[in-house]
């Protein structure tokens, strides 16, 4: 395995608040990597830095060996590095199938190819993926009328439709009905294994992340606190202290 995302010595502050300080981590190609940490430890800030939502103060971020810390959001997304939002973002006025068809990988298309209608294969794939996340019965419904959890699943299906190389997921299980979480874990693992998508996941639910991740990074107060396999992290006293607030 080789590193697909390399974050080295990244710092980012908002005003006087140091949201990220000298963070270095790598995400291996084909892995599931977790990012944990108490609220306000700078996880989403790091995600936003990677996908280009704001400039970083110092350090470098590489994707497939290429420096991306100066690129803009659409440029990074077109490299195949995709993210989902903590507050889901779907096209509420369109139905689920339309949402999926918008999500076809435009980066692999020439301008001329855009001047074509969606192919039957694309429709089939859309329905297949909607089936995969369990929204097949609801495929003709307006996406905005779905429940929050279902919208989240739709956003996940849209991300898969896009055939990304790496998918950054910001709290995929937050707001999802607890009985559905096991199903979601299976689907994430499936996406990783069968579709070959590298996953980089922010997660609050310890059980979920310990269950899935090959490697976990833990942030606290904007700094990298610990890294290791799920077992190492679970037994790391610093991580336990950070979560219990014993500082």
């Amino acid at each position: 395995m080789s590193a697909i995302i390399e974050v080295s010595h990244v710092s980012k502050s908002f005003g006087g608040v140091k949201a990220n300080e000298d963070i270095s981590l790598t995400v291996e190609k084909g892995s599931i990597t977790g990012l944990i940490g108490p609220n306000g430890s700078g996880k989403t800030t790091l995600f936003n830095s990677i996908v280009g939502y704001h400039p970083i103060d110092s350090g470098s971020i590489r994707f497939e060996g290429r420096e991306i810390s100066k690129l803009l959001v659409p440029e990074i997304a077109r490299l195949g590095l995709l993210r989902t939002f903590q507050q889901t973002r779907i096209y509420g006025k369109m139905n689920c199938v339309e949402n999926m068809l918008i999500s076809i990988p435009h980066r692999k298309m020439t301008l001329l190819e855009a001047f074509r209608r969606n192919t039957p294969e694309e429709r089939e794939r859309a329905e297949h993926l909607l089936h995969f996340v369990g929204l097949y019965e609801k495929r003709w419904l307006q996406a905005g009328s779905l429940s929050f959890g279902q919208q989240k699943l739709l956003e996940f299906a849209m991300a898969l439709m896009n055939e990304p190389t790496v998918l950054l997921l910001d709290e995929p299980t937050a707001g999802i009905n607890p009985t559905l979480i096991n199903g979601l874990i299976d689907r994430l693992k499936h996406a990783n294994r069968e579709f070959g998508i590298t996953l980089f996941i922010i997660e609050h639910n310890m059980r979920v992340i310990m269950n899935m991740a090959d490697r976990i990074y833990c942030l606290a107060h904007g700094r990298l606190l610990a890294e290791g396999t799920p077992e190492e992290i679970q037994n790391d006293q610093r991580v336990i202290d950070a979560y219990l607030g014993a500082h």
Binding site: V73, R83, R89, M94, L101, I102, H106, F115, M158
Partner: protein, 345 residues
């Protein structure tokens, strides 16, 4: 396509072709109606379908006029002598020269406008929401002011186009059919265009541009091409208008910001943004309303226009199609999750 729809479209097309013979007294108004339909449809490409509300699309109309005129004239005569206000000699165009000029001038105007939209687009599409509207409005105003200071383009006096030598009735029919053909081509093109991946992508930009960017959609590329296509048609329409009006000047005719420039927005709002037929219906409603009432308003027509804009924007912003969509969502294939199903999920 169902038989009923086919029959409907056939009847509409027949009406379009027969209109100047059915209503010979209104040929000029009918030609202007097609012009309104064209500018409304092209405005809706960016405003309704892509969410970029331009107040300056009239820029392409005015530029189309000038480019069409300049090409037509320079094909046969030196421009500076033609536009010289104190000239004494007359310039005569044979029918052959006239039509060559019209075809080449109009195509040239369309291409020039498309290219200029593509060239200035990267600057303007960085502006979002109200900044885009104000920026494009500024573009149109500035263009008018600048052109009226350029002597070789006739300055504030504008340009007098060559005159068609033949029968005036024939001339009116020619203008009508050119506008009508352009409009029909545009409607057919858009009905296909909005179904393509491209059309879906610009809808995505309208509904949530940040999400579209995060999905790797080439937002800027799609925005530029859409604006360029829109400018292509507006530019050609501008050039034909120059031939129709025979004389035009920069501020009131070519870059007529508060005239046609705002009419197109009103038409679209009236009919319904973001739909194919909304702008067409809106243009027909508005044009008929305007033609019928204009002369009875005794000079207050412009005040009435301002008031109409305010009333539409405040009370009827979704237009006819939006109102229908709200009342009869099933006609538009909209289905929503029932409350019970949501509660159990």
């Amino acid at each position: 396509m169902s038989m009923r729809k086919l029959a409907l479209y056939g009847a509409l097309l027949l009406l379009t072709v027969a209109a100047p013979f059915l209503f010979p007294a209104y040929q000029t108004q009918l030609a202007t109606l097609w012009l309104m339909i064209i500018v409304a449809l092209t405005w809706d490409m960016t405003g309704g379908q892509m969410g970029y509300n331009s107040l300056g699309n009239i820029f392409f109309y005015g530029t189309g006029m000038y480019v069409g005129a300049v090409i037509t004239i320079t094909l046969y005569f030196p421009l500076a002598e033609y536009t010289d206000a104190s000239r004494s000699e007359t310039f005569t165009f044979t029918p052959e020269m006239y039509f060559t000029g019209m075809v080449l001038g109009t195509l040239g105007a369309g291409l020039f406008c498309a290219l200029s939209a593509y060239a200035i687009g990267p600057l303007f599409f960085g502006l979002r929401g109200p900044y885009f509207a104000i920026g494009t409005l500024g573009l149109a105003i500035a263009a008018g002011e600048i052109v009226s200071n350029i002597d070789i383009l006739g300055g504030g006096q504008g340009i007098s186009m060559p005159v068609y030598g033949g029968d005036f009735e024939v001339f009116k029919k020619i203008i009508y059919y050119v506008f009508a053909a352009m409009g029909v081509v545009l409607i057919v093109f858009l009905s296909w265009f909005y179904q393509t991946r491209f059309g879906k992508a610009i809808n995505a930009i309208r509904d949530d541009e940040e999400k579209a960017e995060a999905m790797g959609i080439h937002t800027l590329r799609y925005k530029l091409v859409t604006w360029a296509i829109s400018a292509f048609f507006v530019g050609m329409a501008g050039s034909i208008s120059a031939f129709q009006l025979i004389h035009f000047e920069p501020l009131e005719t070519a870059y007529q910001t508060i005239n046609l420039g705002i009419f197109m927005v009103v038409c679209v709002l009236l009919g319904g943004k973001g739909t194919l037929w909304g702008p067409v219906i809106g243009a027909i409603l508005f044009h008929v309303f305007k033609e019928v009432t204009w002369n009875y308003l005794l000079g207050w027509q412009w005040v009435a226009l301002g008031a109409l804009i305010v009333v539409i924007v405040v009370f009827f912003q979704d237009g006819l199609m939006g109102w229908l969509r709200h009342r009869k969502p099933e006609w538009f294939g909209i289905r929503v999750e029932s409350r019970e199903a949501r509660a159990s999920a």
